[in-house]
Amino acid sequence: MVLTAKFMSNETNIELQTLCKTIGEHLAILHKGDTVSALWPFIITELEFYAGEEFIKKLFYAITELKNKGHSIEEIAQLFSNPSKIAQYFCLFHSAKCLKLDERKQLALDLIDCIHYYRKDPFCTNKSNVLNEKIVNKAILNAQLSVNSNEISTANKISALTLMYLEIVYPTIMRLGHEFHGPYKQENNFITIKEFYDLKSEFMPLSKEFPFKNIIIVEKTEEPTQLDFFNHLIYMPKRSASAIFIDSKQATQKEAEEALQKIEWALTLISSMHANCTKKEWLKSASNNLFYSIKKLSDKLNCDWKPAHSLMDKIENQEFNINLDKIIKFQNTHSQQELQNITTESFLSIFRD
């Protein structure tokens, strides 16, 4: 979407309003009651405090330059690989205030268009993350599923443990490692596909211990699953059948059980290694992972994707000075509806002078 004269004024267009309302609604639910990572609607994480502005500038530059060189939004969207990763960039959008107002609006609208390339409904307003037909792998969607309860249980455990692993490797930016999509109607049932990818992060030494590069779990349910804009699995009905693909190959039950044991063992090892990781090391890895997520855009422009050395120096030397106690008190004294309104308004202010 190209900004028209109307959007370049102080008005906020309907897509941006929907975006801010969606973010407000989901983040209010997410952060109410979760008192450690909850910094919303202020700086969402320490990662944004350090890396937010530089990342947003790089993202804006990359998309703008690619468009200037004649690349379509579809071509640019494909460089991101999955829509929830793009949605997650909006969590860093308070840092977009380093851009001019029109630039902020343009970047947000371009990102929404990129999400739309993948999703039928970019904002998941119907609590579903149904991808466009051209995106969905038909062989996976129509895979042979097992109704054996042991196999379903093994798949559940692998999915849960892999999610926990991602929380360690991609803290606060987990959508860099998974996309849950669906539900896809199939006769009287629904299919949900849970894709875990980039499980071996180049910048997190711990991930060398993880045994697989990618895992896909396909699940059949009688009721539809529910997913939100940020790819949170809101509702997971009882599974009636499932299949599991490990490193692009459908696994037998024996292979799945072996994989579960390997993942459990790796997670134990990674957990103990992670406990010895300093916060600065963690932030440097997270920053590298964040910038690495737009490597394909930078490569297309023959640019270096890496963050500047100054960012690593900033992490090394600068203190994160947010008053967490004050924020927790603020959250505890406001209702979910109030937090939702405050968050929505906070985001809308990004798109006003």
């Binding site: 450690v36 559940n156 443990l161 926990m164 360690i168």
Partner: protein
């Protein structure tokens, strides 16, 4: 349906459906993760993924922290295990000597 003779001890946000009955295992330190046995009801004040092995063995999970969309809630739904979050003072009020019934649908915990 819960046994109405049981006392409702605590209440939180039920984030993953199901009912489980088992002995309480309070886990507030990483060193306590190894003490969790299959079928325990894990009670914690820390939703860290470093506790994943405890959650894997647990029959149900109770935590003092978290909400409907927090990571542990999503993981519990993946495990298909009952989970109740935002239970105030759970690690102090629930003891390792107790057996409880956890109802992940309504967020209620009953001491047996």
């Amino acid at each position: 349906m819960p046994n109405m003779n049981n006392q409702i001890t605590l209440k939180g946000i039920g984030v993953s459906k199901g009912i489980a009955i088992g002995p309480i295992k309070v886990v507030t330190e990483i060193s306590e993760v190894n003490k969790v046995k299959t079928g325990d009801i894990v009670v914690t004040n820390n939703n860290s993924p470093l506790y994943s092995r405890a959650f894997l063995k647990a029959a149900a999970i109770i935590s003092e922290r978290g909400g409907m969309l927090c990571h542990l809630a999503i993981v519990a739904r993946e495990f298909d295990k009952p989970c109740i979050l935002d239970v105030k003072n759970a690690t102090k009020l629930l003891k390792n000597t107790m057996t409880v019934e956890v109802n992940g649908s309504n967020g209620e915990i009953y001491v047996k």
